[in-house]
């Protein structure tokens, strides 16, 4: 009990610390001061009265949502003496693997840079700045010569790295037994089996109504859909993040989805947020980064050719170019096994005072990266809101899909979960595919890395992402990949 209590107080202390620096804190303070004018606030019962005021005016709810948000993202409480690396990734061999993978990526980036003699970053001349500002809403029409650029890596390169992951402390033994994992991933991580998945995803059971199934044309709406929509509207009226997260496990009605996701991710477009986005836009205008070309290339190769997303090409630039320059993203590296690449001012290699993170947000885009943003364009057409939602989705979920870690939602676990499900429940199919040289993971890997974006029709995809948000886990991707092969 004592241990639990001290864990809890540690968590509380850390959350309070985090929130103290936030905008919400400043707003609450202002609201508290302003409330002193109100007649119902009496000096004798100041604390209770202000608390009551917060409750009625909805500010308590906002605070609740913020705390809930922190809890969702916060790594599990660990030993107070644990070093920060353990927060990122507890297993040493995983950390090492991630480290060497990062070195490879950076090397590849630097060599492209040297080959093409393009600086990693440069300040744009004023003329160019003006031009870009005019073209801001139609950057898709720009036709820079991208032929010499290639994506820094593609999902299949990453897969090769994962296949070669080994735990040096684990000895498999040479003999094959029925326990031997026949898949490509050969690390001993704990993944859920079907009974555990059933328990975890209890709301997806056959007896519970689901959108995407129970709202199809043949089913009369009175049976499920109408009630579900009504509840959704209620949840939105209450502005309760936790309730929204629970609700969305059964899928979100299309008309409510944009608001529900914003509520769950605790995004509300404040003037400060819009200002922040404008600031990022200014950074884009003033400086050109090498990764910009990588982003252009990626969009042109993927989203522009997609039946659903080609329409939103220009939004993708507006989001991704700003994303690269957003240093607030660096915060997520505290719980990401990856670390932001460092670059050094010319001639000062190795000198820490001259090191900068490159790109400023520490995230080097790979082939298909823009597809994380594309589906969101169906929900949000206001650029700063779209940006916020994407950024939050990235630092909560998407980063796990391209970094090596032991986290249950990390791509390694997802791959292992997928393969284990297949091997356990469809052994004949699995074995057959192996025999003909078509390891199933090679097919499904790209689906999972992209969270199925571009591989599913948008309405199906959004229903899938509803569940990612609802269960705060990416395991649904592995389950979905498994179902695809059924």
């Amino acid at each position: 009990m004592l241990q639990e209590e001290s864990d809890l107080s540690l968590v509380i202390a850390q959350i309070v610390q985090k929130l103290k620096g936030s905008n919400l804190y400043a707003q609450l303070e202002r609201q508290a001061w302003a409330s002193l004018q109100r007649p119902e606030i009496k000096l004798e019962s100041l604390k209770e009265d202000i608390k009551e005021f917060f409750k009625i005016s909805g500010w308590e709810k906002k605070l609740q949502n913020a705390v809930y948000s922190e809890l969702s993202v916060f790594p599990l409480p660990s030993h107070p003496a644990a070093p920060p690396e353990h927060l990122k990734e507890p297993l040493v061999y995983m950390r090492k693997a991630q480290g060497s993978w990062e070195k490879r990526i950076l090397k590849s980036l630097n060599s492209m840079c040297t080959e093409l003699s393009i600086p990693l970053a440069r300040k744009r001349p004023v003329g160019e700045q003006k031009e870009l500002l005019n073209k801001w809403n139609e950057m898709g029409t720009d036709e820079p010569d991208l032929s010499l650029f290639r994506p820094v890596y593609a999902p299949k390169d990453f897969l090769e790295v994962l296949i070669n992951l080994r735990n040096p402390n684990y000895e498999n033994g040479d003999s094959l037994s029925f326990r031997t994992h026949l898949g490509l991933i050969q690390v001993p991580l704990k993944v859920k089996d079907i009974p555990e998945l059933k328990e975890f995803f209890v709301e997806l059971g056959l007896t519970t109504g689901q959108l995407g199934i129970d709202d199809s044309t043949q089913v009369p709406p009175e049976l499920f859909e109408n009630e579900h929509v009504r509840i959704g509207q209620k949840v939105l009226a209450e502005q309760d993040s936790a309730a929204a997260q629970q609700y969305i496990r059964q899928g979100s009605p299309t008309a409510l989805r944009a608001e529900l996701w914003a509520l769950i991710l605790n995004i509300s477009s404040q003037p400060e947020d819009i200002l922040y986005y404008e600031q990022l836009k200014t950074n884009v205008i003033q400086h050109d980064l090498l990764v910009d070309s990588l982003i252009y290339k990626d969009v042109k190769l993927t989203a522009s050719n997609d039946d659903y997303y080609f329409v939103f090409e220009d939004y993708l630039y507006q989001v991704l170019l700003c994303f690269s320059r957003d240093t607030s993203v660096l915060g997520h590296f505290a719980y990401n096994s990856a670390s932001p690449p460092k670059s050094y001012i010319r001639g000062k290699l190795g000198l820490e005072e001259y090191a900068v993170f490159y790109p400023p947000n520490g995230v080097i885009p790979f082939h298909g990266f823009s597809m994380y943003v594309a589906p969101l364009c169906f929900l949000y057409h206001e650029p700063s809101k779209l940006y916020q939602i994407f950024r939050e989705m990235y630092v909560r979920f998407f980063f796990r899909l391209h970094s090596i870690s032991s986290h249950p939602s990390g791509i390694v676990s997802l791959c292992l979960l997928f393969e284990t499900l297949l091997q356990t429940y469809l052994p004949q199919l699995f074995y057959h595919l192996r025999e003909i040289g078509a390891q199933p993971l090679r097919i499904s890997f790209k689906w999972m890395v992209r969270a199925f974006s571009g591989y599913l029709a948008t309405d199906q995809l959004l229903l899938l992402w509803d569940r990612i948000l609802g269960y705060n886990s990416l395991e649904i991707l592995a389950a979905r990949a498994y179902c695809q092969l059924l």
């Binding site: 299309t254 050719n305 039946d307 090409e313 939004y315 364009c377 169906f378 929900l379 949000y380």
Partner: protein, 423 residues
């Protein structure tokens, strides 16, 4: 009847021919005994013309109505709709209700249009009322965006002024006739781009009116960002959505062809604007299609040998109001992308299933009531017989509880739109 259907066509498109062949039909020439002729609009003119025409026998079916141009020529369509509205107004129908500005509440779905040179003076009067407006000039008899241009100054259309001494044409032959319509300069934009809707509507008979809507319509996007700026009035890539024009643009993409399915549009609008307004929009679109068909039904030669598949072009403005731009008698059967080819193949397939029941030699005296199973991707848009059958059923679109007002007034013009595409 044991014989195989004998078909002819003068449109060499694989989506047609593959469909005929897969039914085991036999190709013949037009001089032989044929049962099914998929003809171009020129040919239908000959078949039904006074000089060169001939009688069709009971086992012959063609894919156009003799005077389809009442609907498919831009000037005649507008004429017929104006006439229809006036008639409804005269008989005091609630459908013809107007608002305080004199605009029709339920029948204002065609942009203000005038014929040139006939209505030139009327047009000038209208133009002067809002001199900063833009107008679009369209030749009556052309297609694929040919000959269309935008104007914002009277001087640009001096030629069509009846009194003009520099008028270069003296006859008013139908070939040179133009219509001029108020340009919708506030189209709904998605991703900053203008688009229009192409919907396919099959009419098997006009009296009683029986029509079907193809569920898989699509949106055609311009490749260039939309701007109402006057400097770009000449840039057809900004303004005209016809694929025939867009595919020559620099940014034309051959994978998706700048097209979206109507379902995508629906998903996008529901997600960003809400379910009610989206449902209302689609209801209105169905409404205007049905009204346009009702408008021409009285003047249409309802020859029992005929059916027709129209391509409706509709633009949505930024207030989510749909506008009928035009109706095509010969919607393009060319495929610009792989998806397109599949769509058009299926379109013809479903059309043939409805028009030529069971794929057998047709008897044009049949009741033109196909069973539900053969509809494929079509849905009943309006069935006048069914509607009159339950005249007591006044509920037109009460689902949305919309403000379109009472429309079940008389059994003649009330009808039930059976469509439930928005489910």
């Amino acid at each position: 009847m044991a014989g195989k259907v004998k078909w002819v066509t003068d449109i060499e498109k694989s989506v047609l021919i593959n469909n005929f062949e897969k039914r085991g039909w036999v190709q013949v020439t037009e001089n032989e005994d044929w049962n099914f002729y998929w003809m171009s609009v020129q040919t239908i003119r000959n078949v039904f013309s006074v000089e060169t025409g001939y009688r069709l026998s009971d086992d012959q079916i063609v894919n156009h109505f003799p005077n389809h141009y009442e609907l498919t020529r831009k000037d005649l369509m507008v004429k017929n709709i104006k006439r229809y509205r006036k008639e409804l107004e005269k008989e005091g129908s609630p459908l013809a209700e107007k608002d305080e500005n004199g605009k029709y509440l339920y029948l204002d779905f065609v942009p203000v249009t005038y014929m040139l040179p006939a209505d030139y003076n009327l047009f000038v009067e209208e133009f002067r009322k809002s001199p900063s407006s833009t107008w679009i000039m369209k030749p009556c008899g052309k297609a694929q965006g040919k000959g269309i241009f935008l104007i914002n100054k009277l001087s640009q259309i001096k030629k069509w002024s009846r009194d003009s001494k520099t008028s270069s044409f003296v006859t008013q032959s139908t070939k040179e006739a133009y219509v001029i319509s108020l340009y919708i300069n506030n189209p709904l934009l998605i991703g900053g781009r203008k688009f229009d809707l192409r919907l396919y509507v099959l009419v098997s008979t006009y009296r009683p009116l029986r029509c079907y809507m193809y569920k898989l319509g699509f949106c055609r996007f311009c490749t260039v960002k939309y701007t109402p700026s006057t400097s770009e009035l000449d840039n057809m890539f900004v303004h005209l959505t016809n694929v025939a024009i867009q595919k020559h643009g620099e940014d034309y993409n051959h994978i998706h062809g700048g097209k979206w399915t109507v379902n995508n549009l629906r998903l996008y609008l529901e997600s960003t604007r809400g379910k009610e307004v989206t449902g209302k929009l689609f209801d209105e679109i169905h409404w205007i299609i049905v009204q346009s068909l009702k408008a021409v039904a009285p003047v249409m030669n309802n020859d029992k040998h005929c059916f027709e598949c129209y391509g409706y072009d509709i633009i949505i403005d930024d207030k989510l109001k749909p506008w009928l731009i035009e109706v095509n008698a010969s919607p393009s059967l060319t495929s610009s992308t792989a998806n397109d080819r599949i769509l058009k193949y299926n379109l013809i397939n479903d059309t043939l299933n409805i028009a030529v029941p069971n794929g057998e030699i047709p008897d044009c005296k049949w009741n033109k009531s196909p069973p539900k199973e053969v509809l494929g991707n079509y849905e009943i848009l309006y069935d006048e017989e069914l509607a009159q059958g339950d005249g007591a059923d006044r509920e037109l679109r009460s689902r949305q509880g919309q403000s379109l007002g009472p429309r079940g007034g008389r059994s003649r013009d009330s009808g039930r739109t059976v469509l439930t595409t928005w489910k």
